[in-house]
């Protein structure tokens, strides 16, 4: 069905440096990501959001190279990306269907494909019954799901989700992980989160970012193996996370 790919990795970054205002938030990141669900972990201010913005091509890297799908025209690359920003802003007066179809239009999908793709995206996040309700009438968790629906409406090959599980209740989080596993089968999904258990349960691969640098990349099992009983944390993977960040030794950490 799909044409053979001409690139090795969906996302390939070399020595990437990205500024957020005057601060260098991402400082020399070298990273290759292929299909699967990649969890992006790190303390607040580690540069997760800035890195995701750079991957979404809305922020231009200060130096280094970033190539998505082996490079190419910005417009073509963007048509293959799905992006849920951390502060997901929306139009309160739009219905779920209107909002997702507006994003589909912005993504330049052929107009005859839009209604079916919109319906499918809304179904996948479990909002079919609220499809014609206005966004201002939805709860916070439902709004997040609208955010996920607009990101997946174009069947993206690279899906970038910045803190998608904020505001989801435990059942919805389980359903979200299932959806990620489904999508990760044929797309490169990058999920930034500060919840270590999200990563443990749903990700095939973990990237830990600390002060703008990649300090760990590997499977959740390898992360768990990095910790020992001495490191703070309630689960093996939390202890591995603390060990990787060397948390107790950090000045001013809490």
């Amino acid at each position: 069905m799909t044409a053979p790919t001409t690139y090795a990795w969906e996302i390939e970054a070399r020595e990437l440096r990205v500024k957020a205002g005057r601060r260098t938030a991402v400082d020399g990141v070298t990273l290759t990501l292929g299909r699967g669900v990649h969890g992006l972990l790190g303390p607040n201010g580690a540069g997760k959001t800035t890195l995701i913005r750079a991957l979404a091509t809305v922020v231009k890297p200060a130096s280094g190279t970033l190539s998505l799908f082996g490079g190419g025209d910005l417009r073509d690359v963007r048509a293959r990306i799905g992006y849920l920003p951390q502060d997901f802003g929306y139009y309160r007066r739009f219905t779920v269907r209107d909002f997702v179809s507006y994003v589909a239009w912005l993504k330049e999908m052929p107009s005859r494909d839009v209604p079916a793709a919109v319906q499918r995206a809304i179904d996948r996040v479990g909002l079919a019954e609220r499809a014609d309700d206005k966004l201002k009438s939805l709860s916070g968790g439902m709004i997040r799901r609208v955010g996920i629906a607009q990101a997946i409406v174009n069947d993206p090959e690279v899906l970038l989700l910045d803190e998608p599980t904020v505001g989801l209740d435990p059942m919805q989080r389980l359903r979200f992980r299932e959806l990620m596993a489904e999508l990760g089968a044929d797309a490169c999904v990058v999920v930034s989160t500060h919840l270590v258990e999200d990563v443990a349960a749903g990700c095939s691969d973990v990237v830990i970012l600390d002060r703008g640098k990649v300090v760990f990349q590997g499977t959740p099992a390898r992360l768990a193996a990095a910790g020992s009983g001495d490191h703070p944390g309630d689960s093996p993977i939390e202890r591995g996370y603390s060990a990787t960040l060397a948390l107790p030794d950090r000045p001013g950490s809490w």
């Binding site: 073509d76 802003g89 219905t95």
Partner: protein
């Protein structure tokens, strides 16, 4: 293709979906069927379509159809701009009212003329800025983001501002030539300056410039603003052209997030 067609028995087992067919036999039957139309015809007896239809029909009535909901958005107007464009219309109407009453600036200065350059600045800021459009980051990341979308949205703003001002001009007797060029120059100026410092800052800067250079003096000294004199038409044309050049040269700025906000 192959001379050896599968036996009736193995076809029937394949058709029934028996799960005890040995894998090699299953593959052989399946790959044979892909290439042999006569065997596919043996597999699918004629009444099958009727049978499938008979099973489907009752289900169809129960399946919800995709609603043919008419979309309530428009590719020209920014969804965030609607309240601001309504305000633009109100300000125009208020300017006409003030002119008719002769309250604000006396008989000699038209308020319509004074507000003309400011109105599109508001509309443009509402259409493409991180501060006023909640979904700005989302929109900036899409393939459609960029100069064509910005021009579209600007055209939509002008489609509200220009007819409004034309009507106001007819009512109050302010000539077309006096306000049209400053209005367009401020529009393009907002975009041009916006590519350098962000649309929000550009709109604030141009509003300040308007207040000090155009609206201030006439309101203080009760005379027609110098800058809106027809003798200055070449100046406004030059500004308009310069703005367009900057916008086109810096067009990639519209595909990125305004990071300097």
């Amino acid at each position: 293709m192959t001379a050896h067609h599968p036996t009736d028995q193995s076809l029937r087992r394949y058709e029934r979906g028996d799960d005890d067919i040995p894998a090699d036999e299953l593959w052989a039957v399946e790959s044979h069927l892909e290439n042999c139309a006569p065997c596919r015809a043996r597999l699918v007896p004629d009444p099958v379509a009727t049978a499938v239809w008979a099973e489907l029909q009752p289900a169809l009535d129960r399946t919800p159809q995709m609603p043919r909901a008419r979309r309530r958005w428009n590719g020209w107007f920014s969804p965030a701009a609607a309240p601001w464009l309504a305000m633009v219309v109100l300000v125009t109407a208020a300017a006409v009212a003030l002119d008719r009453l002769g309250l604000m600036a006396g008989e000699r200065v038209s308020v319509v003329l004074l507000v003309a350059p400011l109105l599109p600045v508001l509309g443009v800021a509402a259409s493409w800025s991180r501060a006023l459009d909640p979904a700005h980051e989302l929109v900036s990341a899409t393939p459609r983001a960029g100069l064509p979308l910005v021009f579209r949205r600007t055209a939509a703003v002008l489609a509200v501002v220009v007819p409004g001002l034309s009507l106001a001009g007819l009512v109050t007797g302010v000539g077309f030539t006096l306000w049209l060029l400053p209005c367009l120059a401020f529009t393009v100026g907002t975009l041009a300056l916006g590519t350098l410092v962000g649309i929000t800052r550009a709109a604030l800067a141009l509003t300040a410039a308007w207040a000090t250079a155009i609206a201030g003096p006439p309101l203080l000294f009760q005379r027609t603003p110098l800058l809106l004199d027809t003798a200055l038409t070449p100046l406004w044309l030059a500004l308009l052209a310069a703005g367009l050049v900057v916008v086109v040269l810096r067009r990639m700025a519209f595909t990125r997030l305004e990071t300097n906000l």
